[in-house]
Amino acid sequence: MLRIENLSASYGEARVLRDVSLQVAAGEVVTLVGRNGAGKSTLLRCVMGLHAGQRGTVELDGRDITRLPAHKRARLGLGWVPDDRGSYATLTVTENLILPPTVGPDPWSLERVYEAFPALHTRRDSAATMLSGGEQQMLALARVLRMGARLLLCDEPTEGLSPLLVQQVGDLLREAKRHGVTVLLVEQNLHFATGVADRHYLLAEGRVAEAMDNSEVRSRERELLAYLGI
């Protein structure tokens, strides 16, 4: 579904990604793991079209989208879950949910979102930034599900969440996967990653250092954790 070929990106003089190539098949959940500064978030931003100054190719369903602006990529079915959760302070919770147009064949209705997240329903008319961190994370995920996005780009959705909420995020991603949604996920929590994902890419210094499956990550957990510095 998603194919990245020889992608390089830089911030000014600093090169953050060097010739990264990877693929995500339809219906797969794939994580990007790596130390801080390894280029994981930049890679997601490049896929979304939010990073100026990149070389290489990004393909979606065989179509070259490298030159496409972000809003057109979203309309092809990309769902953006940013690392800061992307809550709008000047929009209510409901407005945060209905801001993006629906882009996929199977969007969640607002009713379904509120049924799945009673806390969002209770606070539906409050400014989104008044929600707790966990609720804002749920809002960010609910928003792309309501869009009906086919490929979710999630930047550390479990960061700073309680174990209970981490489990809820996992349940959501697994449910999305059951409905055929594809997910590319930046994740530091290896335990969580092996629980939801099919495959993993280890990024180091802007390159794909290794591609691993779940059993490999589990058997090398100690080594990986030490490497990641967690």
């Binding site: 979304m48 079209g49 939010l50 602006p69 972000a70 809003h71 979203a74 309309r75 990309l78 953006w80 940013p82 800061d84 992307g86 709008y88 302070a89 000047t90 929009l91 407005e95 209905i98 801001l99 993006p100 147009p101 882009v103 928003r143 869009m147």
Partner: protein
């Protein structure tokens, strides 16, 4: 007591002009991150346009009230497409140079044709005379301005808070990049929003014509206070700019009435208020610190 009511009323009327101009600056800054130093020139063009339409074509006030905002709004949109949009990637200094340069050009073009002396513009007959509200007589035209400006601010507020267009504008103002990532073509909204802000300035100018001296520099004098208003309200805050507009109108009117023995104080009070507000809240009364993209 009636003196106080009169001063308050007059303060609200000048506040109405500040509010309309600050509102336009706020929506423009919010969407484009451009401070439009030419805003006062468009206010002047609104008033001058109404004057020229009346004296040279016999077009009445009410028609000018529609023609000038729409015409200037379209001119604003053309300017945005031609030059203003280039500013977004440049150093803010160019923002100042371009929009201030536009001011000088527009002012001098008007001067070239009509000179610098002020021209009178008759109050429309429907709004001449005065209204008695008990305490004293209010000039009908000023009552109209106040009512019209309040109505307009409420209408803009309604559009911004209750419609899908308003929601998109708020989202694009707060987080442009994020909003693009949600499938919204933010760029498409930039030109109309700029035109709308300019249209508001033109409208304020038409409203000012019967009340204030119509001359090429009328905008230059006013806009300095309007910038203080925008800074006090919080750059880019819609509500803040309107509230601060009316607030500063009041402060100025009260200052002139009750501190007239201390001209230094009454003439600088707006900027004293601005300095105090900035020390207390650097982002303005209703402003928020810039969020990351």
């Amino acid at each position: 007591m009636s003196g106080f009511a009169q001063n308050t009323f007059n303060g609200l009327v000048s506040g109405a002009f500040y509010a309309l101009l600050a509102l336009g600056l706020a929506v423009i800054f919010g969407m484009l991150r451009v401070v439009n130093f030419a805003h006062g020139a468009f206010y002047m063009l609104g008033a001058f346009g109404a004057y020229v339409l009346l004296t040279e074509a016999g077009v009445p006030f009410w028609a000018a009230l529609v023609i000038m905002p729409v015409g200037l709004g379209l001119l604003g949109m053309a300017l945005e497409r031609a030059v203003i949009h280039r500013l977004t990637t440049l150093d803010p200094l160019y923002n100042f140079l371009l929009t201030f340069g536009l001011t000088l050009i527009l002012q001098d073009l008007v001067k070239l044709r009509y000179g610098v002396q002020s021209s009178p513009y008759a109050t429309p007959s429907l709004l001449s005379g005065s209204v008695n509200f008990g305490l004293f007589d209010f000039p009908t035209y000023r009552v109209f301005i106040l009512g019209f400006a309040v109505l307009l601010c409420v209408a803009v507020w309604w559009v911004l808070t209750r419609t899908r267009i308003g929601m998109v504008v708020r989202a694009a103002t707060e987080r442009p990049d994020l909003t693009r990532a949600f499938g919204i073509d933010v760029g498409r909204w930039v030109t109309p929003v700029f035109g709308f802000g300019i249209g508001l300035a033109g409208l304020a100018g038409v409203l000012a014509a019967p009340m204030r001296a119509v001359n090429p520099l009328m905008g230059a004098d006013l806009i300095i206070v309007v910038f203080a208003v925008v800074v006090i309200g919080g750059l880019g805050s819609i509500f803040g700019s309107v509230a601060a507009g009316f607030g500063i109108g009041l402060v100025q009117a009260w200052g002139e009435a009750y501190l007239s023995n201390f001209p230094i104080v009454s003439q600088t009070i707006v900027f004293v208020v601005m300095a105090v507000v900035l020390l207390w809240r650097p982002a303005g009364l209703f402003g928020r610190e810039e969020a990351p993209a």
